[in-house]
């Protein structure tokens, strides 16, 4: 062979081999488009505006990568989300990929057994049964619906000749609606404008957690309560237990269970005098002195609160929440409304402009009626959609038994929950991200919902199912092909109704791009404009230029929207009125609708202002069943993100517990973590004890949402459902469900039922041990601190931090976290899980504290000696994440440069260099480095099986590495978002502008407590915030030069806090207070040995 021939052959063979080596298979797995669709650019996210389901119906923008939704961000145009998104809404993204969704139509083939069927078959069967039951035999039980689907259900029922619709949400607003009817003459939920108030007193309403519109209220709360220009509003929470909301209050009042209305009336009495009264309520008998005995709240306190209500600017009183859902709930609401009226809230902070679309006022009554009808055998076909009454109703209500009398039960459920398990036919609904729809949580705020991916499984949107069966039933007016067409027809087709009536396609597409039509934004302005976010205005230009559908993170802070709204509000001055000119206390109601003073004379009807009755053992403990931010009413229970999200109050995960006051526990001989049997006259359940100083000694609390017998692998056989302990009763005056009405007794139990009853706490010590980690000032101290920021420590600190990047780098990334704004809602934690592919590790690893969360909300209770000294129990939050230290202790100890300092000051972690010595984690004083003990990213958190369910893998964000076992990981400051912004900026030949990089946690935060940016830009919002006099670094004495500046919490109190719970271990020291602190610090320091003794049992 010639040498040349040899070379030729070798060349061809080599090239061939290389070509085979790069076969397209590998590529195919990375990007599943052989022929990419037009709008999809691999590696570039597409954003779609849509609306979540559930009672809150937040406007969101969905980040879609390569056809898969991977992240939710609030839609800044949506008045209720305001650009933020709650943890629960974020978790509904994970529910989309839940491996336990019903994957196709099922028809019952025997007890406990189902047979897979086709949609044709399923729909035919459904239609047949409907046909045979035509008329009164068809019942539809659904959750709270607004918008087109709500209308479709009514028309569908009408087509079948039935009016039997039951609208039911576990947490209803019946008492509020009844009280509003009695006092204001309107059975509606007004707009509670918390942001405008100077003083908010909540009688049990957990408006920062689950009540009505928490994300919206959180924004209002910030506007009202955040400390700026030396001023802040005051928030007082009245509830027997310190809930998450109460923990954010400046003052927590714990009256005897069921006596809140007396506190409210006492305040009204103090405001208006003995002769005062309104709406048929005369206050004569309710002098604070007269009721102090019954409420347990000193008259002194009530009088002071009344003074503050009147003096601190417009006040606002709220009722509601489970704490108030007792047998006399309506009375509390009436009392709160009386207070609102006498205190001048009406028309100012409480406006019947646009009203909230609450679940129906007769919801609970109708469910009771349904049970009766089912018992009587009158229900022939029961259709259940988006409701799980078997789980959410007390067994005493007899719903499950009554179901046995219904010959044909159809579940339109996404999950195989407790109610679906009773169905004869399951026609699984598509997830809201796979469906068309709309929602109108507040009058005029119409959010549009569009499918962002085709259904993952063989499911159909509920609307399609209803339309198909209506067609089969011969309904002439429901001829639309599918629900999408119905929706569009309703929005733009019929001239009379639709918000886009008469507009052409352009209007429809614009509405889609904007996420809906939000009416007159002026009526919804939150507080006096968000002046603290004005820094973002600089970035508005950048934001404004962005394509609305693909605008990435642009325009979220402040933006033009807010400013317009602020302007509109001043301009239109409708019934809401200007605070200055609002009518005085007791004046006639002037609401937008003009349904004037008629209400004033309305009689409070059957309402009697007496402490609510509790059944059960006289010596028992009052049981509160409380919804939480993660589990809500149980609908988030099968999402590992929600199971692993530490409860804001207890920091417990993957289970339920019973909160007991330490004194009570001592009396009963109970220690933290003990498994107890909780017995009421209505049932008994098991739960582990959590000792909580933030609850009255005569009250215990249990979280709602766990204790599922069905629903899915992550929720099943875990914790307990406290609903089993409750009576099946309704508040007589309003027909609302009773949640807080029974007393329980506790006894020891053994865990022999195969359920997981563990109390798994994610926080070590509940106290700061005088280490000055989460600081707080009183308002006066904060004003003093902010008065002289120019040469303060925080500025000097900032200079040092800013230097911690390469000299020629234009960036030194940093963050500020304002503890005065942080409410502990943990939306940031879930957002971080979603953005950064953080796997849930499961309960067995959480026990060992191996959770991988890059961001945690630390919760610190007041030191025991401080509580003793002041008599006030308090809770502080501290979001803790990688501090991206300038002098990071983790960096020099890594033998392989896996932890290193990048030129922009980021503390970077290179996963593929990491060998897993874990020295960095040991040396990190903030304990924010997390180790992959298993292949968590590919391991089922509960079953521990590899690989993890395939659908859950689809959730991973392609921009972020999925970590393998044996490597360390931690917060990156969302480096992928920084890169994205830098690439975009580079394309335009400029530097990244302030506000262009928004970290995931910042994006989710409803209160804008988190600000991220470039510390080398003097005008950047982060730089200006970091210079605030309240700024400090956690563990500053270690000289880590943390890039995160915390702004100390501010409490509206007269009591000096001296930075609270801290002594020498803080960064900045502020003027004249230093000496005082030093003195105290010295004293504390000497006691360090003693204070370090183990805290509450079960604290570790």
């Amino acid at each position: 062979m010639e040498r040349r021939d040899f070379l030729k052959i070798a060349g061809v063979a080599g090239a061939g081999g290389a070509a085979f080596g790069c076969s397209p298979k590998a590529t195919e797995r990375l990007i599943p488009y052989l022929v990419p669709e037009e709008e999809i650019v691999p590696g570039v996210a597409t954003w779609f505006a849509t609306t979540t389901d559930g009672p809150e119906a937040l406007g969101v923008r969905v980040k879609v990568r390569e056809g898969r939704p991977v992240f939710l961000e609030g839609n800044p145009l949506h008045p209720l989300s305001g650009g933020a998104v709650s943890a629960l809404a974020q978790a509904s993204l994970q529910q989309l990929y839940d491996p336990d969704r019903i994957k196709g139509p099922l028809v019952r083939s025997g007890p406990e057994r189902f047979r897979r069927t086709t949609w044709d078959e399923g729909l035919r069967l459904f239609a047949e049964r409907l046909d045979s039951a035509r008329g009164g035999g068809v019942w539809f039980l659904g959750g709270h619906l607004t918008g087109s689907l709500d209308e479709l259900v009514d028309r569908w029922l009408a087509a079948l000749g039935s009016g039997n619709r039951v609208r039911y949400e576990p947490f209803g607003y019946e008492a509020a609606l009844a009280a509003n009817r009695l006092v204001f003459g309107r059975e509606e939920m007004p707009l509670y404008d918390i942001g405008r108030a100077g003083f908010v007193i909540s009688f049990g309403a957990d408006f920062l957690e689950t009540w009505l519109a928490p994300t919206f209220f959180a924004r209002g709360f910030t506007a009202m309560h955040a400390f700026r220009n030396g001023r802040m509003g005051k928030y007082v929470h009245v509830e027997p237990r310190m809930s998450m909301g109460a923990a954010n209050a400046d003052e927590w009042i714990a009256p005897r269970p069921g006596t809140e209305m007396l506190v409210a009336l006492g305040m009204a009495h103090a405001l208006a005098g003995a002769g005062g009264g309104t709406a048929g309520v005369s206050l004569g008998a309710y002098a604070p002195e007269a009721t102090a005995e019954r409420t347990g709240v000193p008259a002194e306190t009530v009088r002071r609160l009344a003074r503050e209500f009147a003096d601190r600017g417009p006040g606002l009183a709220l009722g509601g929440g489970v704490a108030n859902a007792h047998r006399n709930a309506t009375a509390t609401w009436v009392a709160a409304n009386v207070l609102n009226r006498l205190g001048g809230a009406e028309g100012r902070t409480l406006r019947f402009g646009p009203t909230f679309r609450t679940p129906a006022a007769d919801g609970a009554r109708r469910v009771a009626e349904l049970v009766d009808r089912m018992r009587a055998g009158e229900v022939r076909v029961l259709v259940v959609h988006d409701a799980n009454p078997v789980f959410a109703l007390p067994p005493a209500a007899g719903f499950a038994e009554a179901l046995g009398n219904v010959p044909f039960k159809v579940g339109l459920s996404t999950f195989y929950d407790e109610t679906a398990a009773h169905a004869d036919l399951l026609l699984p609904a598509s997830h809201w991200l796979e469906s068309w729809g709309d929602a109108e949580p507040l009058d005029g705020v119409r959010g549009l919902r569009q499918p962002v991916l085709p259904p993952l499984h063989d499911t159909r949107p509920v609307g399609d199912v209803l339309l198909a069966t209506a067609r089969a039933a011969g309904a002439a007016d429901l001829a639309e092909e599918d629900f999408g067409a119905f929706l569009r027809g309703r929005w733009s087709g019929s001239p009379a109704r639709g918000p886009l009536a008469g507009q052409a396609d352009a209007g429809w597409f614009e509405a889609l791009a904007r996420g809906g039509s939000f009416g007159d934004p002026g009526a919804l302005v939150v507080g006096p404009g968000r002046s603290w976010s004005d820094a973002g205005a600089g970035s508005a230009a950048a934001a404004g230029g962005a394509d609305p559908t693909n605008g990435a993170n642009a325009g979220r802070p402040a933006g033009p929207g807010n400013r317009d709204r602020a302007a509109a509000s001043t301009a239109n001055g409708n019934g809401a009125g200007d605070p200055e000119t609002a009518p005085a206390a007791g004046g006639g109601a002037t609401d937008a609708g003009g349904a004037a003073g008629a209400a004033v004379t309305a009689s409070p009807g059957p309402v009697r202002f007496e402490p609510a009755a509790f059944d059960g053992d006289e010596d028992g403990l009052h049981l509160m069943a409380v919804p939480s931010i993660g589990l809500h009413d149980g609908r988030g229970a099968n999402a590992p993100w929600m199971q692993e999200l530490p409860d804001p109050v207890t920091k417990a995960v993957w289970g339920s517990w019973i909160e007991i006051h330490p004194d009570t526990a001592r009396r009963l001989g109970v220690r933290g973590g003990d498994l107890l049997e909780v017995a009421s006259p209505h049932g008994r359940v098991k739960a582990s004890a959590f000792l909580y100083p933030g609850i009255r000694p005569d009250t215990v609390a249990m979280p709602i949402g766990q204790g599922h017998t069905e629903y899915g692998r992550y929720a099943k056989r875990r914790g307990a459902n406290p609903v089993a302990l409750l009576p099946a009763e309704l508040d007589a005056a309003s027909g609302g469900r009773v949640w807080f009405a029974t007393r329980v007794t506790l006894s020891r139990a053994s865990a022999d039922d195969g359920w997981d009853h563990r109390l798994i706490e994610m926080q070590g010590s509940p106290h700061q041990h005088s280490r000055g980690i989460a600081l707080a000032y009183s308002a006066a101290e904060a004003a003093e601190a902010e008065a002289a920021p120019a040469e303060s420590e925080s500025v000097r600190l900032l200079e040092r931090i800013t230097a911690d990047a390469d000299e020629d780098s234009p960036y030194r990334w940093g963050m500020t976290i304002d503890l005065a704004k942080c409410v502990g809602c943990s939306a940031c934690v879930t957002a971080c899980y979603a953005e950064n592919n953080i796997p849930a590790v499961g309960p067995d690893d959480c026990v060992k504290g191996r959770e991988l969360s890059w961001l945690r909300i630390e919760r610190y209770w007041a030191e025991p000696d401080e509580v003793e000294e002041t008599g006030e129990f308090s809770v502080r939050w501290l979001p803790m994440l990688c501090q991206h230290c300038g002098q990071a202790p983790c960096e020099p100890v890594c033998p392989v440069y896996a932890a290193y300092h990048n030129p922009e000051g980021l503390n970077a972690q290179i996963y593929n260099r990491c060998v897993g010595t874990r020295y960095c984690a040991n040396n990190c004083p903030y304990k924010v480095r997390k180790f992959n003990f298993f292949d968590h990213s590919n391991r089922d958190p509960v079953l521990h099986a590899h690989p993890m369910p395939e659908t859950l893998q689809l959730l991973y964000n392609p921009s972020v590495t999925v970590r393998s076992k044996g490597v360390m990981e931690k917060c990156t400051f969302c480096v992928q978002r920084i890169r994205e912004a830098k690439i975009a900026a580079k394309g335009q030949g400029r530097a990244v502008r302030d506000g262009e990089v928004v970290t995931a946690c910042q994006a989710a935060c409803p209160t804008e407590a988190i600000v991220f940016g470039n510390l080398r830009e003097p005008q950047a919002r982060v730089t200006r915030e970091a210079q605030a006099g309240r700024g400090y670094s956690v563990l500053a004495s270690l000289n880590t030069r943390s890039a995160i500046t915390y702004l100390a919490d501010v409490v509206a109190t007269d009591r000096p806090l001296r930075g609270a719970a801290g002594h020498g271990e803080r960064g900045p020291s502020h003027g004249p207070m230093t000496e005082e602190r030093e003195r105290r610090g010295g004293k504390r320091g000497a006691e360090t040995g003693a204070e370090d003794a183990p805290a509450a049992p079960g604290a570790h």
């Binding site: 010590s765 504290g849 897993g916 370090d1092």
Partner: protein, 450 residues
């Protein structure tokens, strides 16, 4: 040489010494095989545990919350500590002309080498990605990454490997004349003889060879001496270079070196007592030897106790809430029991050695040595685990629930690994130095022969 007593002919003594010591090299009996079988079984289980851990992930261990180092690093420090007495006894005491060392130095040197071989495994076993362990080695590579010489873990890599090199060289060097003796004692033409012949490097015992041997030995002893101090100092810096309260202390280097010698001597006693019994070496490993080792224990125990007290004092004197919190927690927190085991075993029990009667009681010394072994293991455990689970952020304080079966398995496997080498070693190498004993035959032996 002048000390040889009475009129016993030197040749007779030497013959007796040769016979006594080389008897240990006789083919093993059933007892040895039985022990070896147990050791191999345990080792096999340890290897199984390791493979299971590598396949599944480090989650199968007990690591919890902020406790990212635990049993494996404890074992590492423990075994490195054990490895210290060998070189101390053979090198430092050699330089100090402490003649009592002659009968134990070989055993302790063997122990040293095997203990380093054991210790060296643990930093690897504890790695999250053991299959990438070579990232820690400095060599030019396509990754264009060099280890970070700021990291104490890299210092460790060097310190331990250097120590292993020197101590094994030192062991081999001292063995040469003895290997020649074993060669001469072996049957001519046997494999055994050929192996010993090769290993003894043609040693003939000429004056010139002895002169060079003694020079070389002295040189190596001088070379090894600083290593005794440096290796454990470096290991201690694994902790002292960190900022964790309870670790971050300048006292750590001397504290750890003293502790290492302390634990090493205790381990020598633990190993020598049964060996002496089985091989009938009572004449060589006599009460004088134990007396002297006990004195070393008294000295090092005192240093260690002093270090404990200084740590507590400094924590109080610093005024730092972190230091105070950690040290208060050490004696009163979740691991109070481990802290008190450490204090009692290492500071209180060795006080018995102030009594001459105890020092000369072999049974008592054996028991005390066991206490010290346990106490020193817990010392490392306390320093590592207790400090980590109670550091700066109270919210991250967490309870460590103790090791899992995997960690027990691997720890037991490490003892088996060590004992396996030891069992092989005492059958292949003269475990008492023939040539040094001949220089000064032990008195009891001479008395007996007389």
């Amino acid at each position: 040489m002048a000390t040889i007593a009475g009129d016993v002919p030197r040749a007779r003594i030497f013959r007796r010494i040769n016979a006594d010591i080389l008897r240990t090299l006789a083919p093993p009996g059933p007892a040895w095989y039985a022990m070896m079988a147990v050791v191999l079984a345990v080792l096999g289980f340890g290897i199984f545990c390791l493979i299971y851990q590598i396949r599944t992930g480090l989650g199968v261990t007990g690591y919890a919350n902020s406790v990212y180092w635990a049993v494996y690093i404890t074992n590492f420090v423990f075994w490195v500590g054990i490895a210290h007495s060998g070189t101390l006894i053979s090198a430092i005491l050699f330089l100090f002309r402490s003649r009592w060392r002659t009968s134990v130095y070989r055993v302790s040197e063997m122990m040293t080498v095997f203990a380093v071989m054991t210790a060296g495994l643990f930093p690897l076993i504890h790695l999250g990605r053991i299959w990438k362990f070579y990232y820690l080695l400095p060599y030019p590579n396509s990754r264009q990454i060099y280890p970070d010489f700021q990291s104490p873990l890299i210092w460790d890599t060097f310190a331990v490997s250097t120590y292993f090199t020197i101590s094994s060289t030192f062991l081999f060097m001292g063995l040469i004349p003895d290997l020649a003796a074993a060669r001469d004692a072996a049957e001519p033409g046997s494999i055994r003889r050929r192996i010993y012949a090769a290993l003894s490097l043609g040693w003939q015992g000429t004056d010139r060879e002895w002169r060079h041997f003694n020079r070389g030995y002295l040189f190596l002893a001088a070379f090894a001496t600083p290593l005794v101090l440096s290796v454990h100092s470096v290991v201690s810096w694994d902790f002292a270079a960190g900022i964790v309260p309870g670790w971050h202390s300048t006292i750590f280097a001397p504290y750890f070196v003293a502790g290492a010698i302390f634990s090493g001597v205790a381990m020598v006693i633990t190993l020598v007592v049964p060996m002496r019994k089985w091989f009938g070496l009572e004449d060589y490993l006599n009460r004088n030897t134990f007396d002297n080792m006990a004195k070393l224990i008294v000295l090092t125990s005192s240093i260690v106790t002093y270090a404990y007290l200084v740590e507590f004092f400094l924590a109080w004197y610093s005024g730092s809430p972190f230091e105070r919190g950690t040290f208060w927690d050490r004696v009163s927190g979740d691991y109070w029991w481990a802290g008190w085991i450490m204090l009692i075993c290492n500071s209180v029990v060795p006080l018995a050695c102030w009594s001459r009667k105890v020092r000369r009681s072999i049974a008592a010394m054996f028991v005390i040595s066991i206490f010290i072994n346990i106490g020193m293991w817990f010392e490392r455990f306390v320093i590592i685990v207790q400090s980590l689970q109670h550091d700066f952020m109270p919210s991250a304080w967490g309870r460590y629930f103790g090791p899992t079966w995997v960690e027990y398995g691997i720890t037991a496997g490490s003892f088996a690994w060590f004992l396996m080498y030891f069992l092989i070693g005492i059958k292949l190498l003269p475990s008492v130095s023939v040539n040094e004993v001949k220089e000064m035959p032990p008195e009891p032996l001479v008395r007996r022969l007389a």
